[in-house]
């Protein structure tokens, strides 16, 4: 039988999809996260008890008094467990997945009900989706959608879609054939037959499907916690990882409350929306008579109740919202400027301790830090795909070897911060005569022939099975039981309490050695190899993008006393309070933060890296990378940061940034400049003249100036494709140019982004459709497409800007040499144009090579820019 390489094919397919269809996944991700963010924002906004009240009113309306009271009690309980935010996250996730599932499931179900062929085709696909173990697509979902909500939504969707399709199909097929025939006999069109007869009669079944979709979605949402969706699933995942039964059951109960609520509400909604159900319910009520527990208000009253509560909730959200959230970080220590950093961790104690240590340190340094728990595999995947920034719990080279092999080329090892780990088998100390691995021989019967293992995917397990047992001739005698770390620890706890013999797979450092009296079995033959170091591993490029943090992480070291002390503190504080524990511990270790994350002081010009912020605009990319190349030849170090205009000006003003080469002054960025000009220095113009304009393709005849646009709105669909809203050019266009030419009634300026505008231009240009875009000169689009810059006869866009270099006010004194060079710098249109197109042709990510190539053709440039 030849081996069919199905796995390889799947791998190839996944790679191909990643390479070629990532736009589709990006699009889906945008849709999913957009919907999710929207719903989540709505659910998170109101005060918990108010929202609980809204839920209760809905239950009151749909099911009656008792249901309303129980609902309020249930949700208040969730709030008291401090799981409210997580519960709402999960609820949003489930709602989004359900909505999307229904959008797909109902039409597919209808289609399947009408065509046996489609039905036959769809059924195996549904079987596949429903039974394929979730792990199999959960982890790849990260590859396509990154960690977080979208991956979770996709996994939930795959799992929960099937009943939606099945029940819709069943519901429609169940409708009495004679009724459908009757409809047809009276001349009903197929569409009306569907809408007026089949769907209304199928509705109870379809609603049962909706109910199933939600229930499955909820159960999946818990599993999806593994891919960092957060919410209750994240809590469950975290609790299980730490063998914290208490937290686990709290999250579990919260999920159950959500489930029961959603189940009862959707089934009640089912009877409410279907005409038959309404009648049955009404009949039941009349026979039952009026009772207070089943009293239900009329819909109007319920709606009014919900609206009132929602308004109150909205009001509270506005007035009581953000106070006291972000604590201000002292100026000089605010290195991060609110920059977001995401740390991933595996719930091993060393990982938890170091992660929360860094979370605290980085937050003190002004970063916004997000710590997410993963399994090892997903964590490496999300680091490799750039969804998380770094982890501090990489056990290398042995334990995480397989992950490193797979993803190592997409990761940067920032070095080991702890290097005395070991892997071992351990027995309780009451096992008197077993002290080394060799002692295990011949004693299998004592242990039932079992060695309690951990996850079969762990490197330690592979090593144990393939090497260690063989080295001591134990492989025949003992069976290694694949399990999980929590299960192993639970088994250890059980055996220890009863003083049963047990041998477990363990490692150091581990808190089990504190909690239990255990013996690490000696390894005289060295079969376990030398111990792993605990490394900090970052996604590729993180350290370059965040040189300061990179430097800190590279210098990170903890000794055993520090680590175990911190772990003990965290264990003492209990789960959910890790960061408080870290703060307490840091108080006991004054000065450690400054040691681990030193704030740079001003030094000689070339010693201190120059922080250059750049906008993702072509001329800025060109000039910034040009300066980077040239200055590095002169011994400077440049940290490049891509940022938006606003943050750049604030960053420059505060001194966290040093330079920006792309200041369009005096007009385009006037408002930013005016706000901070006291703390900024203008290092002069290096390019002129520039202009702002609206451009149309040259195939659009008869449009040469803004006046020509008048009355032609229909041609352009009434739209001018804009760039980022709030930029000077957009404001100028909306507030001055369009009104000035009387075009403001006729045209809408579409807020978007520069890439979106360029994409739209490209699309329209390819189809020769009329389009008007917001553009500026210099821009490479003018060399790529035949475009007409519209004439601004009234000069409403103002005089042309010049492109200048701006810096923090102290820059000239800190960098006198550099200041002199920059002031003398100038570029011609031809030089800039050729450099931009060179960079364009090399493609994104290869800017440095492009600049190097361009410099070879312009050898005089280095000397001109930095005369010695």
């Amino acid at each position: 039988m030849p081996r069919i390489p199905l796995g390889d094919w799947v791998n190839d397919t996944v790679d191909w999809l990643l390479d070629h269809v990532s736009w589709l996944f990006d699009f889906l991700k945008t849709v999913f996260t957009g919907t999710y963010d929207g719903i989540d924002a709505v659910l998170q906004a109101p005060q918990p008890l108010l929202l609980a009240g809204i839920f209760a009113v809905i239950a009151f309306w749909l099911r009656g008094t008792l249901a309303g009271l129980l609902t309020f009690a249930g949700f208040a309980f969730i709030d008291s467990l401090e799981l409210w935010e997580d519960a709402m996250t999960t609820l949003s996730l489930v709602l989004v997945a359900t909505i999307i599932a229904l959008v797909i499931a109902v039409p597919v179900g209808i289609w399947a009900a009408r065509s046996n062929r489609v039905s036959g085709l769809v059924r195996p696909v549904l079987d596949f989706m429903q039974t394929l173990p979730a792990m199999i697509y959960l982890i790849p979902a990260i590859l396509f959608f990154g960690t977080g909500a979208s991956a979770g939504i996709v996994a939930t969707l795959i799992f929960a879609l099937a009943p939606g399709v099945r029940m819709t199909e069943l519901g429609i097929r169940q409708v009495d054939k004679e009724l459908v025939e009757a409809a047809e006999a009276f001349g009903t069109s197929p569409r009306d037959t569907l809408l007026r007869v089949q769907l209304p009669l199928a509705l109870p079944t379809v609603m049962a499907g909706v109910n199933q979709v939600i229930m499955l979605g909820l159960s999946m949402a818990a599993i999806a916690g593994m891919v960092g969706t957060g919410g209750l699933g994240g809590d469950v995942n975290e609790a299980i990882g730490q063998l914290n039964v208490g937290l686990g059951s709290e999250a579990g109960v919260a999920i159950v409350i959500l489930a029961i609520y959603l189940d009862r509400m959707t089934s009640a909604l089912g009877t409410q929306v279907s005409p038959l159900g309404r009648r049955a319910a009404a009949k039941a009520r009349t026979t039952q008579g009026l009772r207070i527990w089943s009293y239900r208000p009329r819909p109007q009253i319920a709606v009014i109740g919900v609206v009132v509560l929602a308004l109150v909730a909205g009001g509270m959200g506005i007035f009581g919202g953000t106070s006291g959230e972000a604590t201000a970080v002292a100026g000089s220590k605010d290195v991060g400027q609110g920059k977001k950093i995401s740390i991933g961790y595996v719930p091993w104690d060393d990982g938890v301790a170091s992660t929360f240590l860094w979370k605290e340190i980085l937050e003190e340094r002004g970063y916004q830090v997000d710590a997410k728990q993963f399994d090892a595999g997903p964590l490496y995947t999300s680091l490799a795909s750039g969804n998380a920034d770094f982890m501090t719990g990489a056990w290398l080279p042995t334990t995480h070897e397989q992950y490193w092999k797979k993803y190592g080329d997409k990761l940067d090892d920032l070095g080991a911060w702890y290097d005395k780990t070991s892997l071992e088998l351990s027995v309780p100390s009451y096992m008197k005569d077993i002290n080394s691995l060799a002692d295990l021989k011949g004693k299998a019967s004592q242990f039932g022939g079992n060695i309690t293992g951990i996850e079969s995917s762990a490197g330690e397990m592979a090593l144990l099975k393939s090497k260690v047992l063989k080295a001591y001739g134990l492989d025949k005698e003992y069976k290694v039981v694949d399990s999980s770390t929590p299960a192993m620890l639970a088994e250890l706890k059980r055996a220890y309490a009863q003083k049963d013999p047990i041998v477990v797979t363990l490692w150091s450092p581990h808190w089990a050695y504190n909690d239990y009296d255990l013996k690490k079995l000696k390894d005289p033959k060295g079969a376990w190899g030398s111990g792993d170091g605990i490394h900090t591993v970052a996604r590729k490029g993180f350290a370059e993008e965040n040189p300061v943090v990179g430097q800190w992480l590279k210098g990170f070291k903890l000794d055993e006393k520090q680590l175990t002390g911190l772990e003990a503190e965290i264990n003492k504080a209990g789960k959910g309070k890790q960061q408080d524990a870290v703060r307490t511990w840091l108080k006991q270790h004054p000065g450690l933060v400054d040691k681990l994350a030193p704030v740079q002081k001003a030094a000689a010009e070339t010693k201190r890296p120059v922080n250059v912020a750049w906008f993702p605009w072509d001329e800025d990319i060109a000039v910034t990378y040009l300066w980077k190349n040239v200055l590095e030849k002169r011994g400077y170090r440049l940290n490049l940061k891509q940022m938006d205009v606003g943050p750049v000006y604030t960053g420059l003003a505060s001194g966290d940034l040093d330079l920006n080469f792309d200041a369009w002054l005096p007009y385009a960025q006037k408002n930013y400049w005016d706000k901070s000009k006291d703390r900024l220095a203008d290092l002069g113009t290096w390019y002129e003249p520039t202009s702002l304009e609206v451009a149309v393709p040259s195939y659009v005849k008869g449009v040469k100036s803004y006046e020509d646009l008048k009355g032609k709105a229909s041609q352009f669909d009434g739209k001018i494709i804009g760039i980022e809203p709030g930029t000077g050019e957009m404001n100028l266009l909306k507030n001055k140019v369009l009104p000035g030419y009387g075009l403001d009634k006729e045209y809408d300026v579409v807020d978007g982004s520069t890439p979106a505008m360029l994409a739209e231009l490209k699309r329209a240009y390819a189809k020769k459709q009329p389009v008007a875009v917001v553009l500026w000169s210099p821009h490479w689009a003018y060399s790529q497409y035949g475009l007409t810059k519209l004439k601004d006869d009234k000069k409403l866009f103002g005089e042309g800007n010049t492109i200048r270099t701006i810096a923090n006010e102290k820059f000239p004194s800190q960098y006198p040499q550099l200041t002199k060079w920059i002031k003398g710098f100038h570029m011609s249109e031809k030089e800039l144009g050729t450099l931009e197109s060179e960079i364009n042709s090399y493609g994104q990510g290869h800017e440095e090579q492009a600049v190097a190539a361009w410099l070879k053709e312009h050898p005089e440039m280095v000397g001109r820019m930095t005369p010695s």
Binding site: E178, A182, A185, F186, G187, S189, P275
Partner: protein, 349 residues
């Protein structure tokens, strides 16, 4: 063309290559042979015409193809071969959309299991056809209410179908069909699911309505008694073919073959037969020729069998049957009456 409805050599074959099967049937292949190959000939070479105002009953056992035949008449099923002409218009040549328009306005249907929409009230059900036609709401309600009243359901408009008895439900079905003012009513075993007593009521009501409304009706049934009661003309189907078309008496007195004859054995002849069917026509001449002018009981050709029996009992003479000109057209001796009541064969002899 004066016929309201004309079926011309209709075939309906289910299964693979139906066209080929029709050719073979035309060449004389039999139904069993085709069935062995997996194709089912449901209707074979059915031709008939229905005149305006007539009740045309198609009778046959289950599986004889009568329901399939009915569904070809309004295009719910497309004939494999042949034509259906309705008021001279060939329905088989119409597009789906045109066909739907015909069904909405001119042909309506009453179903065996009523087929009322459970999610609509009685009034909404009755108004359904009008809603499909796009009639304005006020008019819709008015006409549906009228139709319900006609069918004896005044006051039940706001009820729901499942609150009504079977007979009442079928009245709603009938009202729904009548409300559209369609010229042609197709009734598919419409009374079969009802209790015998209620079935009789419904039959009576249908006949009564028919007297004033004069619709053209094609009625499907497996019950010969019902066929005889309702049908102006009756088509008997067997194994997909129409084996005989004729009046109730034709079927009863002159069955086309043994199958039809065996079918009619159990029929309550006294209800169906009239003097014209049982009289002995050998005796001809004036009323005076009888020679017993004063004593004779006289009847017309339409006098029902039961009345003849009563007359015969009052006199020893045969009953004389006179036409509208009081010409003697036949006599009915007592033994002949008894013969018809007993065994049909004796009567023929």
């Amino acid at each position: 063309m004066s016929s309201r409805l004309e079926a011309e050599q209709l075939y309906k074959v289910f299964g693979r290559r139906p066209g080929e099967a029709v050719e073979r049937l035309r060449e004389g292949a039999d139904r069993e042979g085709l069935r062995a190959e997996g194709t089912t000939a449901a209707v074979i070479d059915a031709s008939f015409t229905v005149e305006p105002g007539q009740i045309f009953v198609v009778m046959g056992l289950s599986g004889s193809g009568k329901s399939t035949l009915l569904r070809m008449l309004n295009g719910l099923l497309e004939p494999t071969a042949g034509h259906v002409r309705f008021d001279g218009q060939d329905l088989t040549a119409l597009s789906d959309r045109e066909l739907r328009a015909v069904r909405a306005k001119k042909i309506s249907m009453v179903f065996q299991h009523f087929a009322l929409f459970p999610h609509r009230s009685v009034l909404e059900n009755a108004a359904y056809g009008l809603a499909v036609q796009g009639v304005a709401k006020a008019e819709r309600i008015e006409r549906a209410t009228e139709a319900l009243e006609l069918c004896g359901l005044k006051g039940w408009e706001k009820s729901w179908p499942d609150e009504l008895s079977g007979g009442m439900q079928q009245r709603v079905g009938l009202a729904r069909a009548l409300a559209t003012d369609a010229d042609l009513l197709l009734m598919d075993e419409s009374f079969s699911a009802l209790d015998p007593l209620i079935r009789r009521d419904m039959q009576d009501q249908l006949l009564q309505l028919q007297q004033t409304l004069k619709k053209t009706i094609v009625f499907i049934t497996h019950d010969l008694n019902e066929a005889m009661r309702l049908g102006d003309r009756i088509a008997v189907m067997r194994d997909g073919r129409i084996v005989q078309i004729g009046s109730a008496e034709d079927i009863l007195v002159r069955p086309a073959d043994d199958y039809v004859a065996s079918f009619t054995k159990d029929v309550d002849r006294s209800r169906v037969l009239t003097a014209s069917a049982v009289m002995d026509t050998d005796v001809r001449g004036d009323e005076a020729d009888c020679g017993c002018a004063s004593d004779c009981e006289t009847a017309t050709p339409d006098t029902p069998f039961t009345e003849l029996c009563a007359m015969s009992a009052r006199s020893t003479h045969p009953v004389a049957v006179l036409d509208e000109h009081r010409k003697l057209v036949g006599v009915v001796p007592q033994q002949r009456l008894l013969g018809f009541l007993g065994d049909a064969e004796v009567a023929h002899a």
